[in-house]
Symmetry: C2
Subunit: 210 residues, 2 copies
Amino acid sequence: MPRKKMRTVALEQQLLRSALEIVEAGDRTLTARTVALAAGTSTGALYELFGDKAGLIKAIFHDGFRQWAELLEQVPTTNSARHDMIAMLQTTRTFSKTNPMLFEIMFARPFVEFQPTADDYGVAKGIYAGVTRRVGRLLAETGSTGDQIDIARILISVNRGLIAAELGGILGASQKSIDRRWDLAMNTLLDGLTTGLPPSKQAKRATRSV
Amino acid sequence: MPRKKMRTVALEQQLLRSALEIVEAGDRTLTARTVALAAGTSTGALYELFGDKAGLIKAIFHDGFRQWAELLEQVPTTNSARHDMIAMLQTTRTFSKTNPMLFEIMFARPFVEFQPTADDYGVAKGIYAGVTRRVGRLLAETGSTGDQIDIARILISVNRGLIAAELGGILGASQKSIDRRWDLAMNTLLDGLTTGLPPSKQAKRATRSV
DNA sequence: CTAACAGACGGAACGCCGTTACGCAACCAT
DNA sequence: ATGGTTGCGTAACGGCGTTCCGTCTGTTAG
């Protein structure tokens, strides 16, 4: 007896698309009204479909991880695990620089409303698994005995820190110096983490080798 | 002829103190009204003294760097530059974990109103200089030829990334695994960055040493 | 064919935010 | 004492997140 329902999953995706357009344009005016207007609907629809603004941002957050995972899956596997690992890290860096605001939503918290929980970061599990797998290949290639999970988490976190610094303009002034420091940090880490020696021994060796 | 002025620098500091108390308590309701009320004054005073809310957050931002610099200056200089460097990085980590919301204001952007510029990060210059100086000592100690500034920037950015990951709960679940990964990442980096070899040669050496 | 009803829609309303304008109050010179 | 000048807090404004309700739709019973 009632009228046909329009607030379906299709409209939800339309709202999410409109929100992503605003975010990707770097526009800070991500409000319930602007998103609803851009999607050709009303705030009532947005609140029925997403619960509240935090729900909308959470959807953006999840879609960001989905996009990231999609890019990482496209990274080809070559005969050099080391090369592939660098490619993954650089793909992540390029993705973040292409969508800085999406990067912030995923890794900083530019909107007070949404505070990601451990559950939310669970969407990154597939990504972590992929990185961990490639770390395993890398360790096999170099014959080292480091812990795959430790190394994967470190690489992801360090990359995130370097990217955040680059986006904030505090890693360096010129692109040349930024690139040099990113390369130096990542290659140094990959070198050290794939030798299979515990860091204390490395430290001694490094100190004594001088 | 007018009445005595109360909106002085003293009241400005009182407002900043009240704002810091709210921030350090992890309270997300940092509004003009709550801060003014806590400081026993009105929003008019806040706006006369700080211009707008972004000005207040900028003041918090700057005070955060002042606190950080103060802590770093207290790190003693021992006969091991390596030990001192670890101490600085750990001091930064402890500071961030003690005041996670202050860390976010300094390194993420939890309030849309304030977007730090390169000028704002200029307050970190003293900190960078201090870290760079200690890197110089470290390089001298190990006899390596790396670039002080490159290494200082890298250490700061990587540390920030690891801390952000730790605070977000994505570096690891248990404190033990988090500490292990932090130690592994930082010691590996310090090892590799102080050997004086360009990373490509390190890579070859690391690969062939297996 | 029509009327009544179930319920989905959107706009209007509420409280809170950042911000500003204004009326009252306080002080000093006369 | 008094008037004028200036500083103060409050109240108002537009916009936000969020909710609620009047309207309108589409079906179905008679």
